[in-house]
Amino acid sequence: MMAQNLQITAAAPDPALLDLPWDVPLEEWPADVLAALPRGISRHVVRFVKLSGRVIAVKEIGESVAYREYELLRQLRRLDAPSVEPVGVITGRRSPDGEPLEAVLITQHLQFSLPYRALFSNTLQPDTATRLIDALAVLLVRLHLSGFYWGDVSLSNTLFRRDAESFAAYLVDAETGDLHNKLTDGQRSYDLEIARVNIIGELMDLVAGEFLDEEEDTVAIGAMLVERYEELWTALTDEESFTADARWRVAARIERLNDLGFDVGELDIMTDIDGTTVRIQPKVVDAGHHSRRLMRLTGLDVQENQARRLLNDLDAHAAATDRQNDEESFVAHDWLTQVFEPAVRAVPRELRRKLEPAQVFHELLDHRWFISKERGRDVPLAEAVDSYVTDVLRHRPDELAVLGASGLADDA
């Protein structure tokens, strides 16, 4: 066998990487190293691989593009943009008879993430498409605020995680992207147009494959992304002006942004010479208002809408125990140890992998609301947990296994 001269570029290389069969084209890797998880449409060969108790995604791609995408993903992580985590690049692969093989880009498999096609292959709520679009609009606005031009926005290049009753979107494919200090309007609008056309194409494909009802208006769903994006962009960046005596509007604007899930890092306030009008414009906004607040209070690291839901329950707990005027962090600590943790721990260990703890808690709250209504009384959380586990969670198809077997991933 001809020696390979592998070159591994990685921030923290895992020695176990060396044991993988790099001298074999990815398409021919043996099933025992692969993890059968669902994938989106792609033009490169992509496989999920088990490595040291975790799962990595391996993509075969030209060497220079591999390094470029790796660097971009690293920069996106530094900017705190929701994206997959790069692990490294491997070059210098050769087959046993000396044929050079393509370089690979390795990323960490995003846990609990679902490609959009998997979400459509199961029967789900009727507004799945709408909720995916909402999540993608938020992602695109966040990326654009960070100066990232994507160049190939699509459902396939996005991963979705359940986030309370909605989804949180993550960028998975940065191949065509570019980072700038600030995007031009042309760049933003072209990205939006690409997104619109790609989304409609992807939905048309689902219709052709009979995963989506023919009656769905795919063109309207694509147009919805543009609408949602514009709304959010305007809310986050628009300049507004008012007379000097309406200063409460500064606080109102900040509150409105908080409601949308954003913190205001910097706000420009300009008054004209005679001081009669005031103009304000957010300059720096950071996503994750609720998840940051929950993190500060409880140390829980969850997604934005899950955090919103948990914070609501925390507030309800404070009210129910008559502690609204106590130091918030003390109440939060008690809520964590007396409400959240016991509820999540009450879920049998073997079922815990199905969903993230915060998502379990969110569904638990929903379930309690549902059975309380059904039984005509306030059901305590402990009782709700039992009912949720036996009646809901246990019967839920094991999402990962079912989707992995759907065969959807490989027919691209």
Binding site: I41, T176, G186, S189, G201, A208, A412
Partner: protein, 375 residues
């Protein structure tokens, strides 16, 4: 069909002072294949993105046909960026994969079908139209992606280094395919590459950029035969042109005791800032190997011989009294000379050969400005 005009178009990135593209004046003809070429960072991509509407134009204008598109949104410019994205949809037929953008735009079914069929004919995909992409080879899939752009019948195709991701063999193949496809379609195309060979083989005309400034526009032949300045002379052509700057005395460029005769008209064209010096360029094929002792011959120590079948090139250095003085340079480096030799009479490594510049085949440039002297 349309022309493309850059009219003193300038792009200054926020936070920078030097324009990335500086007052670019360039007229692309209807149906022409124009290649923007130059070293990395010279402003090729910026120019293309300005045309696409992705980069603001800080001064000047951009026109497509007679229409000023400087402030028009990218999607309304009637352009297509090719090779941006070619993930194909697995459940849709090849025809639907090619035509779906027209369906989105609300075009009637019959028109979509006829445009798709027309594109398929050009792309050799007719028999696959009703199949799924799964049935296609890699090259055919790429053509379907091309078909997506073609059926939209844009006024202009834009391509930014579309081949950079391919291996050398496939690159040469795809290069030819793109060029011939473009000629058959006759759609105005602006193509960006850093590779001058790619530029020479593909473009109807080439525009060379350096530091955001347009150096020269012309046919591949123009660029090769009459480079407008020292930069273009050294950049275009492979192997590269040999160049040197010499003192001028009594109508001769002095290279040690070797004298290269310079035409009178060129001597009179020199100005004060040339400092009585002249830059002379000569391509590897403009040198003749001559016997030792031939008057005004230049001795070259052979370092490497590159044999390419029909051609052979000597990569050598000046030797004797001329050696290591930084008198000459070429694409191979300082003091390096490249000589094309008869492939049936290649010298050995370590040997010294003697060469003279073939009369009339030297290129003359102002030592000061670097501009060509037409003599």
């Amino acid at each position: 069909m349309a022309t493309v005009t850059f009219d003193k178009a300038t792009r200054i990135y926020p936070g920078t002072e030097r324009p990335a593209v500086d007052a670019l004046d360039l007229a692309v003809e209807d149906g022409e294949f124009l290649v923007l070429v130059g070293p990395s960072g010279c402003g090729k991509s910026t120019s293309l993105r300005m045309l696409a509407g992705l980069e603001d134009v800080n001064a000047g204008r951009i026109l497509i046909g007679d229409r000023d598109v400087t402030d028009v949104q990218p999607k309304d410019r009637d352009i297509a960026m090719v090779f941006q994205n070619y993930a194909l949809y697995p459940h849709m037929t090849v025809a639907d994969n090619m035509g779906f953008a027209l369906k989105i735009a609300g075009k009637p079914k019959a028109e979509i079908r006829s445009r798709v069929e027309e594109a398929a004919k050009i792309l050799d995909l007719t028999e696959y139209l009703d199949r799924k992409p799964k049935a296609l080879s890699g090259g055919q899939r790429q053509r379907v992606a091309m078909g997506r752009a073609i059926v939209r019948q844009p006024q202009v195709f834009l391509m930014d280094e579309p081949l950079s991701n391919l291996d050398a063999k496939l690159r040469v193949q795809t290069r030819t395919q793109i060029a011939s496809l473009q000629r058959r379609l006759g759609v105005t195309t602006v193509y960006v590459t850093h590779d001058q060979t790619e530029a020479l083989t593909m473009g109807d005309r080439i525009a060379v950029l350096k530091d955001g400034l347009l150096q020269q526009v012309g046919t591949p032949r123009d660029m090769y035969d009459t480079p407008a300045n020292v930069f273009v002379a050294g950049f275009i052509g492979s192997p590269a042109m040999n160049l040197g700057t010499f003192s001028l005395a009594e109508g001769y460029a002095q290279l040690g005791s070797t004298k290269i005769s310079v035409p009178r008209t060129a001597v009179t064209a020199l100005g004060a800032d040339d400092n009585a010096k002249i830059t002379i360029g000569f391509r590897p094929e403009s040198l003749d190997v001559v016997p030792a002792g031939t008057p005004d011959s230049i001795p070259v120590l052979v370092n490497i011989v590159e044999e390419l079948g029909s051609d052979a090139f000597v990569y050598g250095e000046l030797t004797g009294e001329l050696g290591s003085k930084g008198l000459l340079h070429s694409g191979a480096g300082e003091d390096q000379v490249i000589v094309r030799v008869d492939p049936r009479k290649v010298p050995a490594k370590g040997e010294t050969i003697h060469v003279t510049i073939r009369t009339g085949e030297q290129h003359l440039f102002h030592a000061g400005s670097g501009l060509r002297i037409d003599a």
